[in-house]
């Protein structure tokens, strides 16, 4: 899977490319906007890791131009500025996600993977967390290789949580995923589905847990090592 890394700091670019290569991607490096434009015109990439401050201009311009031309390529913006306005500007210009420097390489790779796994995106099929896998196309769940049957709403709950594994998903976001717009969910819908889902997962020997943050949301995480 080809990824374009647009970053003028050569050392950082080298580390990022090496990290992506280790993770099974095939990265190319462009040190400036002009190189990036040439590469984008000739090679077809699945994602761009885009530094916003480049020697020959702002990465946002490249992004805006690409989006105007109808490109739906996944874009992960990297920024050294953390003012909220800059982040908002980045997302407005069409970045799918952003990371503030300095960042952890695992975080970058996890986020790029998540982008490629968006509905309709390149990595459409397999979500993994611990020993649980969910194929979002065939709706098959496996735990340590063994198939697991789940009712539809619990499956949708699991999928929503796995798409954002390790991050908190709000109750409203879960409700949106589980119920259609014209359905009227019962007031305790989410806790009830989660209760069943937790029980089923534990019984099947899954090594993930679903944490509740009361009043905030839910998070699927690999089971914490108890020391």
């Amino acid at each position: 899977m080809r990824i374009l890394v647009v970053e003028d700091e050569t050392k950082l670019a080298a580390h990022v490319c090496a990290g992506l290569r280790d993770a099974g991607f095939c990265p190319d490096h462009a040190p400036a906007l002009s190189d990036a434009q040439t590469l984008l015109a000739t090679v077809s990439y699945e994602a761009i890791v885009l530094d916003l401050a480049l020697p020959d201009g702002n990465g946002l311009d490249l992004l805006r131009k690409a989006r105007r031309n109808g490109s739906s390529i996944a874009v992960m913006a990297l920024t050294a500025r953390d003012a909220i306005d800059d982040r908002v500007a980045g997302l407005d210009a069409g970045a799918d996600d952003y990371l503030i420097k300095p960042f952890a390489m695992q975080e970058l790779i996890a986020r790029v993977r998540a982008l490629l796994r968006r509905p309709g995106a390149v990595l459409g099929e397999k979500l993994c967390a611990g020993n649980v896998t969910l194929d979002s196309r065939t709706r098959m769940v496996e735990i340590a290789g063994g198939p697991l049957a789940l009712p539809r709403r619990e499956l949708l709950t699991l999928e929503a949580l796995m798409r954002r594994a390790g991050r908190v998903v709000s109750k409203d976001m879960l409700l949106d995923q589980i119920y259609e717009l014209d359905e009227q969910p019962p007031s305790n819908a989410v806790p009830v589905h989660l209760h069943h889902l937790r029980r089923t997962l534990t019984a099947a020997g899954a090594d993930v847990e679903i944490v509740t943050f009361r009043g905030i949301g839910y998070m699927l995480s690999e089971r914490r090592a108890r020391d």
Binding site: A80, I84, I100, P102, S170, G215, I216
Partner: protein, 338 residues
């Protein structure tokens, strides 16, 4: 209410004094002149003439005085009126906005040099302010990029004890840099804040972002919001650091296995409760000082988190309180302005 420092007051009392002195002198001089001129005649005739003269003239003294005073006050008011326009212009100026050239229209010549000097001073201040502001933004980029190189380099090194320890140092350094830059960004922003932000939504988002940290530290994180929308004065960029810094502190200091609870009242009061070691009463007045480290401080903080909180609190007109909790731990309460 009479303003004793005003030009009108100064002029009025001097003119009154002058009129008084001139009247006395005129009466005395006239009397002396009449006495001299009437030498040899009967003095009571002279006195009668004098009295008649005064009776005819005395009404004019206060009238002339009042007219003079009125003219003087009118002159002062009309020539100083353009200063009102200047005051309005100056009132509208805020840090970060280029100062407009002050209006010199219809100004008395004596005041023009002062206005020019103020103009110059404002431009110099603005230039200095811009340098400071850009410094924060440039420093952000110049510090963060090498840190990103350092961290990504360390992450590619083989796993061993030394590498792990260096990685932790790099993470700590990143945090200090991030906090310094955050403080610089807030300080260089506008001093008075207009605009409003939905606390319910913002607090929920910050709490959600802190979820993974709470999980890692085995802390039970909960939020209770009393209203679905709760507006407070401020901007996301200012209010977010308050909530984030207080919440991260609570999660890092609370006992593993205990609970950190956030409560947001409908009136814009946010309380954050932890079950940490608590802050000794004698240290509470100093916790908001920059780089101050308490007796209970964790090894890898740098003493800037609460300084950032205080800086923003003052700017958005909020108040903060620190209290001990009944069965151990600390409660921070922030009352936001609406």
């Amino acid at each position: 209410m009479i303003d004793r420092t005003s030009l009108q007051f100064a002029l009025a009392w001097r003119l009154t004094l002058l009129l008084f002195v001139v009247s006395i002198a005129a009466i005395a001089g006239l009397r002396w002149y009449v006495c001299q001129a009437s030498a040899g005649y009967q003095t009571d005739v002279a006195h009668a003439v004098l009295l008649e003269f005064f009776a005819n003239i005395v009404w004019a003294i206060p009238v002339v005085g009042a007219l003079t005073l009125a003219m003087a006050i009118w002159a002062i008011r009309s020539s100083l009126a353009p200063l009102g326009v200047l005051s309005e212009q100056l009132c509208r100026m805020t840090p970060g906005n280029r100062p407009v050239n002050l209006s010199r229209r219809a100004l008395p010549g004596e005041i023009v040099p002062l206005v020019a000097a103020v103009d110059d001073a404002l431009s110099r201040l603005h230039a200095a302010y811009e340098v400071q502001r850009h410094f924060a933004a440039n420093a952000a980029h110049e510090l963060r990029t090498p840190l990103a190189v350092l961290r990504s380099g360390l992450e590619r090194m083989p796993e061993d004890k030394m590498t792990c320890s260096l990685r932790e140092d790099a993470v700590r350094l990143s945090r200090i840099v991030a906090q310094l830059l955050e403080l610089a960004r807030i300080e260089s922003g506008p001093v008075t804040i207009s605009g409003s932000v939905d606390l319910t939504r913002l607090v929920t988002e910050v709490a959600a972002a802190a979820g993974p940290l709470a999980y890692e530290r085995n802390v039970n994180l909960t939020l209770q919001s009393q209203a679905s929308v709760c507006n407070a004065r401020g901007t996301t960029g200012l209010v977010e650091p308050i909530v984030r810094n207080l919440l991260e502190n609570a999660i890092l200091y609370t006992r593993p296995g205990s609970e950190v609870s956030l409560t947001l009242s409908a009136s814009g009061m946010l309380t954050i409760d932890d079950r940490g070691p608590g802050i000794p009463a004698e240290e509470r007045s100093r916790i908001f000082d920059r780089f101050w480290r308490g007796s209970q401080a964790r090894a890898n903080g740098c003493g800037l988190g609460l300084a950032i909180v205080k800086e923003v609190i003052d700017r958005i007109g909020a108040t903060i309180d620190v209290n001990e909790r009944a069965h151990g731990g600390t409660r921070f309460s922030v009352q936001f302005a609406t």
